[in-house]
Amino acid sequence: MMNNPNSENPKKRLNGGLPPADVVQDGIALRLRELYSNIENEGIPDNLLHLLEKLDEAERAQTAKQSPEV
């Protein structure tokens, strides 16, 4: 198993969504946050962006129907 030479590094990298001050920052909490931020950093997948576009279009069509004169 690879040993991380800087065991402090993960704490510094994971700065988003800091838990409450009295949550014990043990190996469990650190790994969980590393897992979580790895996923966050994958960005938003295309199918989800497509869905948002579709919702947007549907909404615009709906608005146009409701107020054709604006």
Binding site: N3, V23, L35
Partner: protein, 187 residues
């Protein structure tokens, strides 16, 4: 008219900003990318249809997480235990980047997480990873703050047990503890 448009724009901006975290919540909650995908899509559609009821300036993240969580439990009720019984699927689904430190550790971790009771799992994710306060997590889960704290403690204990790591070490057990654990298991 301008107000309504502003509300829509702001709503979308906030929604987009929250999506990566909402997705991370869904994946860590369900343990699989596929199910998480469905869940996030359902939650987004639901949130979208209720956007008029969302008050700008209030906590969009907590609002979205609550919607996704409710969706998770209603899907679980529909499908029975299937959702939390998907061991073995993470390995293929989790994208592993070659230079990602501890990628294997992360897969083990996700598997262990999925063995927890749902209420413990969501509590530890919301507070230790999503960045909610105990109060916010309690609101999202509809329980008392003390309940959230004790669920987190139980989740932590169970994860330490499953992963064989003690609370102090960042990456894996100390060699002598690992040796003791191996010994205990093989006896």
């Amino acid at each position: 008219m301008a107000d309504a448009e502003n509300h829509q724009l702001e709503f979308k901006r906030e929604l987009l900003k929250t999506l990566p975290s909402l997705r991370a919540f869904a994946i860590s909650l369900t343990g699989t990318y596929d199910k998480a995908d469905d869940l996030v899509q359902e939650a987004v559609v639901r949130a979208w249809s209720r956007q008029d009821s969302f008050e700008l300036g209030t906590n969009m993240k907590a609002w979205l997480f609550t919607i996704l969580r409710n969706e998770f439990y209603s899907q679980m009720r529909k499908r029975g235990r299937e959702i939390s019984d998907a061991e073995g699927t993470y390995t293929e689904q989790m994208s592993v980047h070659p230079n990602q430190i501890g990628a294997l550790d992360m897969k083990d971790f996700l598997e262990a997480l999925n063995k927890l009771a749902e209420d413990q799992r969501e509590a530890i994710i919301l507070v230790c990873a999503s960045g909610f306060s105990y109060e916010e997590a309690a609101n999202i889960c509809g329980c008392a703050v003390g309940t959230i704290k004790s669920r987190i403690n139980r989740a932590r204990g169970r994860l330490q047990e499953l992963l064989g790591i003690d609370g102090e070490s960042d990456y894996g057990p100390e060699p002598h503890i690992a040796a003791v654990l191996r010994h205990t298991v093989s006896v």
